[in-house]
């Protein structure tokens, strides 16, 4: 029979694994019952420790590490793929930028020409006579601002209305063309009007090199449409 007084001390001693000391040791020396219980407690704790060791030190299965390595491979691979995709995307953006930047100077030059056109308009605009002033000024723009190579642009504009509407220097809509044809008709009938009309253009635009090439001699005036309006003007000048 365990002596109640020593019960807790006995269990503590068995749990700690240390040898009993002091009063407990003396009691155990005298009391066979407590000695027996102490022995059981020591066995119990030893069994617990053995069981814990068994529970906590299981042998690792051989398949675990290869499985983890395989999963690591799966985890790592999509990341690299993503990086490659990003690099490809960046390269694409860079190429697009390079193409855009290379194409830009041409556009800028065209825009510069377009700006030059309207600036010359008021200078080239003759005093209005019997013809619609706006129509005349618009044609005046073309004639005054277009140097040798501008005739090409003009031809482009007539074949592509949308492009013409976006670029002021090549504006020749059908109704304007018709109006201009009428003007040419009038000029044909009254050559003095044509001469006075066009004679002022070089005077006001003397700073522009674009005017000189337009003074082309030996070309007959014909009431033609499109590109030939230019030559008819040049001829009108000769009159």
């Amino acid at each position: 029979m365990l002596c109640e007084h020593y019960k807790d001390a006995l269990i503590e001693a068995a749990a700690s694994g240390a040898a009993p000391s002091g009063e407990l040791r003396e009691h155990l020396a005298e009391c066979a019952s407590c000695r027996a219980v102490f022995g059981q407690e020591q066995s119990l704790f030893a069994a617990i420790d053995t069981g814990l060791h068994a529970a906590a030190n299981a042998k690792i299965p051989l398949s675990l590490l290869p499985r983890v390595r395989a999963r690591l491979e799966e985890v790592a691979t999509p990341r690299l793929g993503w990086v490659q995709q990003l690099v490809f995307a960046c390269t694409g953006v860079v190429l697009a930028l390079v193409i855009f930047l290379m194409a830009r100077p041409h556009r800028a030059a065209r825009e510069e020409l377009a700006k030059q056109g309207p600036v010359t308009v008021p200078a080239s605009m003759p005093p209005a006579k019997s013809v619609n002033r706006e129509e005349t000024s618009s044609e005046g723009t073309q004639i005054a601002a277009i140097p040798v190579n501008r005739s090409h642009t003009l031809r482009d504009s007539t074949s592509s209305p949308s492009a013409a509407s976006s670029n002021p220097e090549v504006l020749v809509p059908p109704d304007e063309r018709e109006a201009f044809a009428r003007l040419v008709g009038v000029l044909n009938e009254r050559s003095d009007l044509g001469a006075s009309l066009l004679a002022k253009v070089p005077e006001k635009e003397d700073g522009l090199a674009a005017v000189d090439p337009l003074q082309i001699p030996d070309i007959e005036i014909k009431p033609l449409e499109g590109t030939e309006t230019e030559t008819s003007h040049g001829a009108g000048e000769k009159h």
Binding site: I11, A14, A15, S16, Q40, E41, S43, L44, F45, A46, A47, I48, D49, T50, G51, L52, H53, A54, A55, A56, N57, A58, I60, P61, S63, L64, L65, R67, V68, R69, R71, L72, V75, A76, R79, L80, V83, L86, V87, C90, T91, V93, V94, L97, V98, L101
Partner: protein, 197 residues
């Protein structure tokens, strides 16, 4: 302006390469530790689950999560502590769901848990006691259980356990002591089965 525009993707690609290199470094280091870490994760999971196949699944999951956080957890003691906690947590979650499943299955098949036939008395007694112990272990509060398991695991000093769990040394010692006493209380009634051990 043009240079600025062109330099941006280049620097992005460079930092990407640096990141890739860091990832490769982390992976190499992680693989070097894998044998040790794998054992730690598996043992924690196995002690909780008492089932090798389940413990293997949990250890794998814990190791993958640990790898994904490895760059932030280079400090070895911190990494081991993190791995131990995630393994313990995952194992507990799995144990709970397994218990729910077992309860459902028990409703359909009543005489399921027959004790294994004992051929030698002490082996049977030993197995029986181990079963009681592991069930008692399961009933311990989690913080006591984790520390007790780590203390029973080979290769970890009390100092390392304190560092892994993130508590003072004295707390680890007292937790181990309390945990063993609690187990003893639960197992004292089976003390007759340990006389052959």
């Amino acid at each position: 302006m043009q240079e600025l525009v062109l330099n941006q993707p280049v620097s992005t690609a460079r930092s990407e390469l640096v990141r890739e290199a860091a990832q490769a470094d982390a992976r190499r280091e992680f693989e070097e530790r894998l044998a040790e870490c794998g054992q730690l994760a598996f043992r924690v999971a196995r002690a909780v689950l008492r089932n090798t196949a389940d413990a293997e699944d949990v250890a794998q999951e814990a190791l993958l999560r640990a790898y994904q956080s490895f760059e932030r957890l280079r400090d070895r003691s911190r990494f081991n502590g993190w791995l131990v906690r995630i393994s313990f947590r995952l194992a507990l979650d799995r144990l709970r769901s397994a218990k729910r499943r077992d309860r459902r299955e028990a409703l359909w098949s009543q005489p399921a848990h027959l004790p294994p036939p004992a051929t030698v008395e002490d082996v049977a007694a030993s197995k029986q006691f181990q079963g009681h112990l592991e069930r008692a272990l399961e009933e311990l509060p989690e913080k006591l259980r984790l520390v007790l398991l780590l203390s029973a695991m080979e290769g970890h000093t009390i100092d390392e356990i304190a560092s892994m769990v993130g508590v003072p040394l004295g707390t680890v010692k007292s937790r181990i002591f309390i945990a063993r006493k609690k187990l003893a209380e639960k197992l004292r009634c089976y003390a007759n089965t340990i006389r052959t051990r």
